[in-house]
């Protein structure tokens, strides 16, 4: 075997889903004994690339070599046979079977046609020991904790004589201590010459265990870099697709006026804590203020919003509106108190696809629109007409099913769902993601007007322009903590990126930013 060819090489990988290019000419090179991070924001194409690598998807273009041999996996079994395996975050194992059975599921060692338990248990023990794990192969999987189950999943992967192991967000359900067990396993794989592709949103982890990183964005290859010597801020810039020249203003529809918040906070959320996802987050927002919230995927932005809205149980923390402590057990409680929440994932958490524009628009307002449980059609029509006109919602009629509308119009209907309730505080999670430019500008302008009229707004966004131009203050989240608060002329794309990467509000170093722009 030649040693100078890379373990795994992918070139020009393209994948098309119904006319939409999920991957466009992506490349990845993995060396023996390397831990290779794969990063990117939503829609970057990480999971599509992994699925192609491990045979779950076919590819529409490009080539792939394993040990210098051109390969074309048709099924995950094909890939496993060749030694390329993926271990997913949700562990797909059988809780009621033993550890050894799970590791050898579907290819149990046999003798005279029967399962050779002795050999299976011995083999399983050997693999577990190789990984430094002290797990009894005869234990029932369900009796192990999540972390150990995940290790068994990795052991199963390794048992295919794996050359390439893909770990997809392996730490997302692990505690701090359990993460160190995982690190240990990863280091042992590395020492054996196995190539590991490591997907995670947590920068600390990447810098702890990974050698190199490949960045994807919008289905395209951005760069592969060695992590040693790569500034976090450079990495964030690559993920977000920012260059120096773009860090100027004037692309959003926010009117550029200095907003002063009232003195007394309208909303105060204190010490919000939930597992590793939220750690003691405290935020405040005043009437008439748009508080921006920045952070990478998985930084705890959405979790903060959901905690304030009562959508997730939190371990600790309190929410006050107008100085009054809210008892939030369900979103219904938050709505009754005067909060509104435009969720991030329109399809999964926003629209009721089979219902009409009218029914979707008035969904949250029904209690106010009905008497003895019967909806007042006249008032409903009035409100629907008013808001369809005010927001410029384009539909053939209010009877049209919402799923037939464009993303921008769907988003407007969802925004109207909250505005017709006349809320006191509005939480927007990625309000303009995936909608056309026109609708985007309209929504931004509307949010600005609403704030001027006295509404309090928390606006989560991945679009830095939107945050810089729309917010009176910007909070930056990182690894479940609120790490920076930027005000006034501190607010710039530079400073936000810097805080996302380094966790502090210090202005980005000029020459670092220059370097970044040269790399594109």
């Amino acid at each position: 075997m030649m040693t100078n060819v890379p373990l795994l090489r992918m070139e020009g990988i393209t994948k098309i889903f119904g006319g939409y290019k999920a991957l466009d000419g992506v490349a990845l090179t993995l060396e023996r004994g390397e831990v290779h991070a794969l990063v990117g924001e939503n829609g970057a194409g990480k999971s599509t690339l992994i699925k192609i690598m491990t045979g779950a998807y076919g590819r529409d273009g490009g080539q792939m070599w394993l040990d210098g041999q051109s390969v074309n996996f048709r099924t995950p079994e094909d890939a496993q046979g060749a030694g390329v395996v993926a271990v997913y975050q949700e562990v797909n194992l059988l809780a009621y079977r033993t550890v050894a059975e799970n590791i050898y599921l579907g290819r149990e060692p046999r003798r005279f046609g029967f399962v050779n338990w002795k050999k299976m248990n011995a083999d399983a023990r050997e693999i577990l020991e190789r990984l430094g794990l002290n797990i009894d192969p005869r234990a029932t999987l369900g009796s192990l904790n999540i972390a150990l189950r995940q290790m068994v999943a990795i052991a199963r992967g390794v048992s295919f004589n794996a050359k390439v192991v893909v770990l997809d967000e392996p730490t997302s359900s692990l505690t701090e201590h359990e993460v160190s067990i995982l690190y240990d396993v990863v280091r042992r794989l590395k020492a054996e010459g196995v190539g590991v592709v490591y997907i995670s949103h947590r920068f600390d982890e990447l810098y702890t265990v990974c050698d190199r990183v490949t960045v994807l964005r919008d289905g395209r290859f951005v760069a592969t870099r060695s992590l040693a010597g790569l500034e976090k801020i450079d990495l964030v810039c690559m993920m977000l697709g920012k260059r120096r020249e773009e860090l100027r203003q004037g692309t959003t529809a926010f009117r550029h006026i200095e907003r002063r918040g009232d003195e007394a906070p309208l909303l105060r959320a204190e010490n919000l804590t939930r597992g590793r996802k939220l750690n003691d987050v405290t935020i405040e927002a005043a009437r008439g203020e748009i508080v921006g919230m920045a952070g990478l995927l998985g930084s705890g932005r959405t979790e903060t919003a959901r905690a304030i809205f009562g959508a997730d149980r939190i371990e600790r923390g309190e929410v006050y509106l107008e100085g009054k402590r809210l008892n939030l057990r369900t979103p219904g409680d938050a709505i009754d108190a005067g909060l509104a929440f435009l969720s991030e994932d329109r399809k999964a958490e926003g629209i009721i696809p089979e219902l009409s524009v009218r029914e979707n628009l008035t969904l949250a307002a029904l209690p106010a629109l009905s008497k003895m449980g019967i909806v007042n059609n006249a008032r409903q029509r009035e409100i629907v007409e008013k808001f369809m006109k005010r927001l410029g919602i384009k539909a053939t009629s209010a009877d049209q099913k919402i799923r037939e509308l464009s993303g921008g119009n769907q988003q407007k209907v969802l925004l109207a769902r909250w505005l017709c309730k006349n809320p006191k505080f509005l939480i927007l999670d990625e309000p303009t993601r995936g909608i056309d430019i026109g609708a985007k500008g309209e929504i931004q302008a509307l949010v600005g007007e609403l704030a001027e009229a006295g509404l309090g707004v928390l606006m989560i966004s991945s679009e830095l322009e939107e945050l810089v131009e729309g917010s009176s203050r910007v909070l930056v989240m990182r690894d479940g903590e609120c790490v920076a608060e930027l005000r006034g002329n501190q607010i710039s794309q530079d400073s936000i990126i810097h805080a996302m990467a380094e966790g502090s509000a210090v202005q980005a170093d000029q020459h670092v930013a220059d370097d970044v722009s040269k790399q594109f």
Partner: protein, 328 residues
């Protein structure tokens, strides 16, 4: 179909005959099938198009239609209720035992309905509170409920009922209309109204269409689910009492046996998708009628009844095919 107006006409105008069929399938497919069946029978089946036969048809389908109406709401939330037949048996056994023991007819009936409703609410509470799949929870009650009904009736013996007031439920008439048919019509009309005009009806389809979104819009998803299962239980209870009054006896081992399957078939044929998020009570009644008329067609024409089962199965498959979600 050419005369269709409004939004639907644009959808139909886009493609040829097949796509217009597909566009109308879910809404009018069942109605078209019903009309075809009636026309066919009016021509070929003797004594079909008579008032007597009309009332007889409606009479025969009443228990199924009642149960199927509740099932429609349950299915609209994305669930299913297999326990309806056993709940019918519980209500039947309880009412009969109480009346035989000297309790007043009104009290006995109300008590039986309350227990039936409670059985449904229990289903709903287990499903929404403990996140157990509806098919499992209601399967458990399907099994346990049949047992409980037989325990109530002292080992499943037949309890004869000669109470005239109770018998009215099964044999009484209001003008030309059998009392039980009247109950079915009232229930159906109320259900249609609730699903069209009430906020509760909106919540039912919202929970079935996108539970996460419904919850974030402030809808009490647990309460909504518990309520639909309670309604399903209540309607099954009413059906159980009617069946008992009709037979003039309670047979805990037989009342409502396999009715869940007929009810689900009526719902599916009527155009309510099993995936939830949509409900058409009117369609369900049409579905129940179709199934009933198919049975009668075979019986009245002296064709082996077993063949009607084959035709029913075919109708169900065709209905599901016509309503399948279209790939964008």
């Amino acid at each position: 179909m050419q005369q269709a107006t409004g939004i639907n006409s644009t959808a139909a105008a886009r493609g040829g005959v097949m796509s217009s069929l597909a566009a109308y399938g879910p809404t009018y497919g069942a109605l078209a099938a019903l009309v075809l069946l009636i026309v066919f029978n009016a021509i070929f089946t003797r004594n079909f198009a008579t008032p007597d036969n009309l009332w007889n048809t409606l009479l025969q389908m009443t228990p199924t239609a009642l149960v199927a109406t509740g099932m429609t709401l349950v299915i609209a939330t994305g669930g299913i209720d297999l326990s309806v037949g056993s709940v019918m048996a519980i209500a039947s056994a309880l009412a009969a035992t109480l009346i035989a023991g000297g309790t007043g007819v009104g009290v006995a009936a109300l008590l039986a309905l309350a227990v039936a409703c409670g059985c449904g609410a229990l289903n709903g509470a287990l499903i929404s509170g403990f996140r157990i799949q509806p098919i499992i929870v209601t399967l458990a009650l399907l099994i346990a409920g049949r047992g409980a009904a037989q325990v109530i009736s002292q080992g499943g013996q037949l309890i004869p009922l000669n109470n005239p007031a109770f018998g009215y439920l099964g044999r009484g008439y209001v003008g030309p209309v059998p009392a039980q048919v009247l109950i079915m019509i009232v229930v159906a009309v109320v259900a249609v109204f609730v699903m069209r005009r009430s906020s509760f009806g909106r919540y039912v389809v919202a929970v079935g269409g996108n539970e996460a979104a419904a919850r974030l819009a402030g809808i009490k998803t647990h309460r909504t689910k518990i309520t639909v299962y309670a309604i399903s239980g209540l309607l099954a209870g009413i059906a159980g009492l009617i069946e008992t009054a009709r037979l003039g006896a309670s047979d805990a081992a037989k009342v409502g046996l396999n009715i869940e399957l007929d009810a689900i078939a009526a719902v599916v044929v009527g155009g309510t998708p099993l995936t939830g998020g949509r409900a058409t009570v009117g369609g369900t009644i049409i579905g129940a009628l179709i199934m009933q008329i198919i049975s009668m067609t075979f019986i009245m024409n002296d064709i082996k009844f077993s063949w009607s089962l084959v035709l029913k199965a075919a109708i169900i498959l065709i209905a599901v095919y016509v309503q399948r979600p279209k790939v964008a």
